[in-house]
Every structure is written in C-alpha cells, then in structure tokens.
C-alpha cells in the first residue's frame, strides 16, 4: 500500500497539470463541458461513497444537486457571495441526506433504491410546484457567477479554474475521509454489517453518515452547477439525472476512488464525441449495455485487468530471460 502512495501522488499531479493547460485555446463550449465533467465527478464521487464504499444505494443524488443548486441560486440572487451561499447548500444537503439515511436503517437493496427514487420525484414535484421559492417550471435565471474578493469568475476560463480549484479541494477532502478509519468503517459496513456491529461499530451512525456525506458532495456539485449554467429548472434534477449519476459510478467502477471521474467523463463526453452522428444516443446505450454485460466491474475494471495482464506478461518474460 505505502509503496503505491508516491505513484498515486505523481499521477494526481500530472492529471492536475493536464487539467490546468487543457482548456487553453479552446472554445467556450469545450470549457463548459470540462466544468460539467468536474461537477458530475463530484456528484458521482459522493454517490460512490454511499454506494461503492458503504454499500447503500441512493437514487436521489440529483435531488441533492438540486438542493445545492437552488440554495446557491436563491441566496446569490439575493446578493450573498457564493462562498457563503454554497456552504449553506452543502450543509442543507448534509442534513437532508442524514434524514434520507433513516429508511436505509430499515430496508436494503431494491427497496432502498425505490424509497430514494421516490424522494427524488417528490423533490422534483416541489421544485416544479412551489413557484414562490423555485420559480416553478420556469426555474431561476441570471444566476451570478462567483466573485472572490477582487477576482471574478465571470469569464468562462476563469470559471473553469474556479471549478477546478473547488473540485480539487473536494476530492482531496474525500480522499482524506476514505483513507481515514471512517473509510475502513464504511467498507466494513458494506462487507458484513453484523460483524462490524459486533466489533464496536455503531452501524446506524455510520450508515447515516454515509448518506449525509455522499449527499453533501451532491450539494456541492449543485452549488457549482447553478453559476455554471446560470439558469436552473426542475428537469435538471429529475430522477433521470440521478440514474445518470448512478450510471457514472457503476460504469466507472463501483467502490473505486477514481472510477466516478472516468464514468463521468464517459457519460458527459462520449455523447458529445458521438454527436456528429444521428444515432449517438443509440450507440451510447448499446455501448453501456455491452460494457455491463461483458465487464460488470466497469472501466476501472478493464484498466486493472489490463495492468494485471501486463505485469504478468512482464514477469513471465523476466523469468524466461533468466535461465
């Protein structure tokens, strides 16, 4: 484990450098896509904590993005700075996520999936019907971009760097959580709840925390989405979007730290790459079906199998060369 840490650091540093120079010279739509990818990565990484690490399914991640986005939008439209509004949204998601965790103490698997899915639909109905708060189906528009002191993130590129900075901090925080004893406790909960409880783990508390933290990351993604698109409406937070985030997590590789980033890239960018053709969503759907049927461990699973094969053939070559 410890021998791999420097490697992970190097990879992260290279990745960051690439992300810093990637948008330079590109058009604003490309930069928008990158922001969108980062935003969905945060949401998917949050869900991965709840589902991949702690083993509790939630099909409500889009509603948490919604809570974060609406909170941020409403407060910044009232003149609050983003730096004050976003934490309120994230905190709200933490609390609501905690409450949504209670059903998870009673039911598992498919049943929990449907409870959370129902919750998402209820959120959607509230967002659509409570015009006084959310603007109803017209949504909220002219959401301001963040401004931190003298620096404004009005321009597309400036907003990208802002998003990148927030994402990097969020991912770092999540990394800290996952490698702390909490991360081990989440996995223990997933692997064998009864045994974990008998070893002193308060499984109720850790289940609620898994929901609360995962949801808070959804809220942060929403807090980025509001100023990114500058216009939000209920459909962006419907059940379909939650399923999209779930798709990212599973396609990337369930329970793998970086899997959601890969999954989000595929879900956000692949349709764009295929957009030239008339059949892009059909091709995309076929690809997902094929991937799940042939490689249920997702893209990260493919990568790992490939690396393992490579290492094996190297080892084989080395032993062959010896005598």
């Amino acid at each position: 484990m410890s021998s791999r840490r420097p490697l992970a650091l190097i990879v992260a540093a290279v990745l960051l450098a690439v992300l810093l120079i990637l948008p330079v010279g590109h058009g604003s739509y490309f930069i928008y896509l990158l922001c969108s990818w980062l935003m969905f990565t945060i949401a998917a990484m949050g869900l991965n904590l709840t589902l991949g690490y702690a083993g509790r399914i939630s099909l409500a991640q889009a509603s948490f993005m919604g809570v974060g986005a609406y909170t941020t939008a409403i407060l910044t439209l009232h003149g609050w700075p983003w730096l004050a509004a976003a934490p309120v949204g994230v905190l709200l998601c933490f609390v609501v996520g905690l409450l949504l965790g209670f059903p998870a103490l009673r039911v598992r698997g498919h049943f929990l999936a449907f409870v959370t899915l129902a919750f998402n639909t209820l959120f959607f109905l509230v967002a659509r019907n409570e015009d006084w708060l959310t603007g109803g189906s017209y949504g909220l528009s002219d959401i301001p971009r963040p401004r931190i002191g003298p620096i404004s993130a009005d321009g597309q590129l400036a907003f990208y760097y802002f998003t990148l900075a927030v994402s990097a901090l969020a991912i770092l925080a999540l990394w800290g959580i996952v490698r702390s004893p909490w991360g081990r406790a989440f996995k223990a909960l997933r692997e064998n709840e009864v045994r974990a409880e008998s070893l002193g783990l308060d499984t109720r508390r850790i289940t609620l925390l898994a929901f609360a933290i995962g949801s808070a990351f959804g809220g942060l993604a929403g807090a980025i989405e509001a100023p990114l698109v500058q216009y939000i409406e209920p459909n962006s937070f419907a059940v379909g979007e939650s399923l999209k985030v779930l798709l990212m997590v599973v396609v990337g590789g369930l329970g793998d730290f970086w899997g959601p980033a890969l999954g989000a890239a595929m879900v956000v960018l692949l349709p764009e790459a295929l957009r030239g053709t008339r059949y892009y969503l059909i091709v995309y759907a076929l690809f997902v079906i094929a991937l799940m049927v042939l490689k249920p461990t997702g893209l990260m699973g493919i990568g790992k199998t490939f690396l393992a094969r490579l290492a094996k053939s190297r080892a084989a070559a080395a032993t062959e060369a010896k005598p």
């Binding site: 049943f111 409870v115 129902a118 059949y279 079906i289 799940m292 049927v293």
Partner: protein, 292 residues
C-alpha cells in the same frame, strides 16, 4: 356520488393497465431477480411495432396487432433475456440494473430516431361510445380495458396455479436449485417468465395507446407507476401486483379530482415510501426469511 363512482371507475380502468405492467415486472423479478428499469419502455414499444406494420407495410389492423405481439415476444422476451439478462446471471446486481436503464434509453431513442418524436394516434377496434352505470358515465373503451386486463391477469393466475408448466415456473422462481434437482427445466421456465412479461407489456400497450396516444416518452411515467404498483402490492405476489395497480390507479384519480392536481403524482410515492418502510413485503406479500 355519481362523480365519485365515475372517478373510481376510470381509475380502475387506468389502474388495470398499470397492473398488467406491474404483474410482468413482478414475474421477471421473481424469475431472474431483475429489476427491469425498462418496463415502461416495454409498454411503450409494442404500439410502434403495430404502427410500423399498419403504416409502413400497409397491413390491416389485426395483422398489425399480431405482428406487434410477435415482435414483442422476440425482442422484449427472447432477445432481452438472451442477450442482456442471461449473460449477467446469477447475480447481476447493479450492473444489471444499469444495463436495463441503458435498454430503456435504447428503446426510447430508437423509436424517436426511426419513427418520430411526435405523439401518434393509435387505432382501436372498439367503438367510441359511453355507458351509464349507476349514474356514472364510463367509456366503452375504459370498461373494456378493465375487463380485459382482469381477464388476462385472472387467466395468468389460473395458468400459474393450475397447470404443470405454471407450477414449474413458480418452483423455478422460488428455489431454482431445488427445482433443478426435481427435474424442472429452470432455464426454460425463466424464459417463459420473460415471454409472459413481453406479452403482458404488448397487451398493455394496445390498451393504453388509443387513449394516451403512442409516444416515445410514454414509458417514463408508466414504468415508475408499475414499480410502485408491484411494490405496494408485494413483489412476490401476482395478485398483489394486480391489487397494487388498481389501487394506484384509483388513488391517483381520486387525489387529482378531490385534493390536488399539482401533487397528484406525489400520492403514489408517499404510499410507496410508507409501504416499504412499514410492510416491505407489500400489502399482500409474504415476509421473506431473515438471516442473522
């Protein structure tokens, strides 16, 4: 009073179509632990098979329905089972769920791309008239929907309980390993479940499309309601899914008429959450064994 009766009757009629989808959903769940997120699209698609036969091939109505039924059995039954579910058995888990979600995108987008995005009128062999029942006015179509659905589900229940094949299907679903030892062809029984589901979906499609028009996005709400009906009734009970479907249809109509139009979709959801939390086995279902 007559308005109330009318609301209930038309709710029962819509609910009976939900029930068809819910029963199929429950069958597939029992047979292969598959939560089919494409179930709504399964009900949306067969109408388009019929439209293709009628408008593209110029076939008569009955031939269009026959073609749609066969195409549904082949694609929604055989191909879905063989190409998607079978390779991921025995425990498909989340990847299988994701695969069915992708199937739902595939079906929706295919219809949109190859047939069209607009809502299409759909022919019905039934007359348009209405009937008076105890002061309530109900359309002949609604009444037919209700009676036909009840007859189909009733027939299916008889088939499952009274015939050898039906009982073998139940045995294969409950404990595949034991059934296999007793000489039941489990793989074949599982396939039957998928075929029955495809047939139910096609039938529901023929009933629902004349009233609501055929549209690629029809499955989105239908699928959700079918899940709700199946769970409220009890995942592991055919009769439960029937009752769940009717219940959801009636409640939905009552709420929309007497309580709130904006939040009509919320009631089934609240019902769903309540049932799952207080009676996870559903209103009519059996408790599943627990392991400590």
């Amino acid at each position: 009073m007559s308005q109330f009766l009318q609301v209930v009757l038309s709710g029962l009629s819509t609910g009976s179509i939900y029930a068809l989808a819910a029963v199929g959903f429950a069958l597939v769940w029992q047979a292969a632990q598959t939560v089919n997120f494409a179930q709504g699209e399964f009900v949306m698609l067969p109408a388009f098979f019929a439209l293709v036969a009628i408008h593209w091939f110029g076939w008569p109505l009955w031939a269009g329905f026959a073609f749609a039924m066969l195409a549904s059995l082949a694609i929604l039954g055989l191909a879905f089972k063989g190409l998607v579910v079978q390779p991921m058995m025995p425990d498909g888990g989340l990847p299988l769920v994701i695969a069915t979600m992708a199937v739902s995108i595939l079906l929706k987008e295919s219809v949109k791309t190859f047939y069209g995005a607009e809502a299409q009128p759909f022919p019905s062999p039934l007359p348009d008239g209405t009937l008076q029942i105890g002061g309530a006015v109900i359309s002949i179509r609604d009444l037919f929907d209700l009676l036909a659905s009840l007859a189909v589900v009733g027939g299916l229940t008889l088939f499952l309980d009274r015939t050898r094949t039906g009982r073998q299907m139940q045995a294969a679903a409950q404990s595949p390993a034991v059934a296999e030892i007793l000489g039941v062809d489990v793989a074949r029984m599982t396939l039957y479940a998928f075929l029955v589901n495809a047939a139910l979906a096609a039938f529901a499609s023929f009933l629902v499309s004349p009233t609501y028009l055929a549209k690629f996005s029809n499955g989105e709400s239908l699928g959700l309601v079918a899940f709700i009906a199946a769970i409220v009734g009890g995942f592991n009970r055919i009769r439960g899914a029937l009752v769940g479907g009717l219940l959801v249809g009636v409640l939905d109509n009552l709420v929309a008429t007497y309580v709130t139009q904006e939040y009509r979709a919320a009631l089934p959801l609240v019902l769903l959450i309540a049932v799952i939390l207080w009676r996870p086995q559903g209103l009519l279902g059996d408790a599943e064994g627990r392991t400590v």
